[in-house]
Structure formats: C-alpha cells, structure tokens
Symmetry: C2
Subunit: 254 residues, 2 copies
C-alpha cells in the first residue's frame, strides 16, 4: 500500500489540484481537460492546466499555442522559474513549450519523472482556484511521481464506452485507490455519433453504457456523456476548444 505522501507544501497557492486521467490513450482526455479548463475560466475561476504527457504533449496545439515557448528566469540562487502561457483565460504549461514542435522525447522512466518533477516545481502559477493535470496513458512514472509529490484534491477519469477502454479505466481506478486519491467521477466520451445532416439518427460506434457501468462499479458519479462531435476534433486541431465556439451547443456536466 503506497501511503499517499503528496507533499502538502507543494503548490500552496492552488486551491484545487485535479488530475484528468485515463488508463487508455486516445479516449479524449486532453480534449476534456482543455474544454473543462476553458469552461471553468468562463465561470470566472482562475484556472491552470499542466500538460503532463511528456511523450505526446497536445495542450499547445489545443490552445492554439503550437510553436510558442515558455518564459523562464534564473533567480540569484540559481533556481529556474518558469512562467505558463495564457490563452482563453487559462494558464497553460507543457513540455511542448520547451521542445521543438513534434520533437520526440526519447526518455526512460527516471528522466521522464525528472522532467515532470521540474515542471511541477518550477512553474510559477500564482494563485489559482483549479489546476488540472492532463495525464498521459498508463500507470507509470508520471502518475506515481504526481501522486507522491502533489497533494491532489481528486481525479476525473475519462473513458470511451467500449470494453477495451473500460479495462484500462479499472486499472487507473485501482492505482488512484492504492495511493489514496479520491475519484471525483467518470466522464464518458465518444458516447454516440449524430450525423450533422441527419439529427434523428444516433450511432453507438464505440458501444453504449460503458461509462455508467464502470462508474457504478467504482461507486463514483458519471459526470457526463459527450457525443462524438466533429467540432470537438476540429477545435482540438485548430487550437480553439469547442466550448468557446458559440456555434457549439456544448455541455460538459461539472
């Protein structure tokens, strides 16, 4: 049993530290995290997002900041302070801001954990109501370093409806439980597809009801079901999260 340390002195000016996780890649975790961050900022909260996927950072692209760099300063005693970029009212930090665009991070575990710890320790967020950690897939170095270093308020787990994804959600839930992190709920993404030109049709491409099932298995609320929506994908590729696009009638249940 890993006793959750989560150093209480880390990130003292942040009131809520929330991991957005999913054991499986490609289920829409970064999309949900980016849209959630923007929605919270629109409600007037001070919000930050730390893109912890060092092998495949997507936050820069999703916030229209691809190619941007992060400003850093050296203090008198030699420490380096990093400053997040700000877009749509959200402060965003990502390894993507310190690497070339699409550059591969060919790193083994200890280096990976080292990069992540540096991001957590050096970024100067100022006072925030919420800091979201957009986690990579799996239950490895980043997840372990996060849960051991940061006093998380809780975790939101994103899934898609099919069995293959649910298995990874169960693994993720198991890990958070092991390190005593509260699971705030499950978000099911890509729940169904309604064609733009045939609104009466509904195709459950990836299955149905998986999110509700795994939420009830874990005894946590199902926070919402998000349809497959072409606007969500174009929003991610074009750097304008869908929730900010007035044409999108878009609701992520908080």
């Amino acid at each position: 049993e890993i006793k959750r340390t989560g150093n209480a002195h880390v990130l003292p000016d942040v009131h809520n530290l929330i991991a957005v996780a999913s054991g499986k890649g490609g289920v829409g975790k970064s999309t949900v995290a980016a849209n959630l961050a923007c929605a919270l900022a629109q409600h007037g909260l001070r919000v930050g997002l730390l893109d912890a996927d060092i092998y495949g950072p997507s936050a820069p692209t999703m916030f229209g900041l691809a190619g941007a760099t992060m400003h850093a300063e050296k203090t008198e005693d030699g420490r380096i302070l990093g400053y997040p970029n700000e877009q749509y009212g959200v402060k965003v930090a990502s390894i993507g801001f310190v690497m070339q665009r699409d550059q591969a991070a060919i790193l083994r575990g200890p280096m990976l954990a080292g990069y992540f710890k540096t991001l957590v320790e050096q970024i100067q967020w100022g006072e925030l109501d919420v800091l979201l950690f957009d986690l990579p897939p799996g239950t490895g170095d980043i997840q372990l370093t996060l849960t051991q270093q940061v006093p998380l308020t809780g975790a939101v787990v994103v899934t898609t409806p099919q069995e293959i994804a649910l298995a990874d959600v169960r693994r993720s839930v198991q890990m958070f439980r092991k390190v005593n992190v509260e699971i705030l709920g499950v978000v099911e993404n890509m729940s169904y597809f309604v064609p733009p030109d045939a609104p009466e049709k509904k195709y459950h491409i990836f299955g149905e009801g998986g999110g509700a099932m795994v939420a009830s298995e874990a005894g946590v609320p199902l926070l919402g079901e998000i349809p497959i929506n072409i606007g969500l994908r174009t929003g991610g590729d074009d750097g304008l999260p869908a929730v900010l696009n007035p044409d999108m009638d878009y609701e992520i249940a908080k």
Copy 2:
C-alpha cells in the same frame, strides 16, 4: 545518435520481426496488429504476436483469451521458459496472461523495461515467419528496450487522420529513424465512417488525408486506410478479430 544494437542472436528462429507502433494511444494499433496477425495466419504464415503494452494489455481480450494464463516451465539450470497461447492460428503472448484480469501494473520505467525484456527472452515461439510487437504509446522504455534488444526487420506506424495524432506519428518516426529501424509504412485507421443504414454517406469524423500526408513526409508508403467500422470494435471487445468474421468485407493492404 543511438547505434541500433538489436542483438542479432535474439529470437533467431523468427524470420521477420515487425513492430506495430504509434506515438499516440487509442488510434487502433492493437486492433490493426490483431487483424494483421490473423490475416497473415490465414495466408498460411506462422505468426506470433507479443503484446508489449504492459500498462494496458489488450491482446488477451482481442483474441478471446481474456482470463487465460500462459504456461511456464523451469529448466534444470533454473531458467523459466514461457509458452504462448494459440488462437486463430496465431501464437499470442501478453503480460495480461500473467496478471489478474484488468489488474493495474503500477511500475516505474526500470521495472517496466525488465518485464518486457523477460517477455522477449523467455517466450518459446518455435519457428515463425512473422512476429509482431504490439507497442504501447510513447517513445519510452519499452520502445528503447525493444530497439536495443531485438534486431527488428521494420516498423509499421498506425495513425488516425487528425493533426493531434499526426504529431505523435512524427515523434514515433523520429525515434525509429534515430535507432535505425526501417519504417515499412503507415496505416491510417478511422479514416471515415459510413453508417450501416446509409451506405451512400461518408463522414470524415477525424479528418481526412492525414495518413497520406505523414507517409509522404516520411517518404514511406501508405499501406492502407481503414474506415471506422462497428464490426471492428465489436470484434475487439468480443475476441474475434474482424478479419476472421466472414460478414466483414475487410481488407488491410499488406
């Protein structure tokens, strides 16, 4: 520059060692690997599949072997030999056969690499024409251990059409190039969706032409474009790869 070692003495009885990779998770890498393995076996080849995604093994489920275990023996000199399971004419090995179903592998890099090396060294495949390595997302420990231990014939990179996925494909290509592994080609998955009840319609939910673009950027062939097909998803969840289902008119260009 990492000189590709790839120990020539590893897996001497296997004629072709092919990595099925993708920097990004959830693009359909395991689905493509499972269907490719079955298609090659149907053509009379002796085929193996090693599921190298230790954080989220899906091969057992995709081959209808969820809950199965792998037989192992101890030799006189204390070494352990593992024997793959066989289904649909494919020999399958996965960490999922040595763990509880849906059990989380909460491991840091060095342990992860260790588990993988054990799988590579201990499994007794016999003579094979092709061994596919179904890789996890990212460019980390498993990828590095594989390219340094195994004399790969080449790698097939799977992507979906959207920009977010293409960025990860570029990272994956960069990594393989760095370790001198030949890229055999790119497979684009989830290229478009044709509703079962409206075959004249075609929805490019995840965009269009991304696979062709990144293949031409990397100077490698585009091996095929696979539509979003509900049968592929049900095949994966139910343990019968779609290519074996006679109702599916299914073509993966080799």
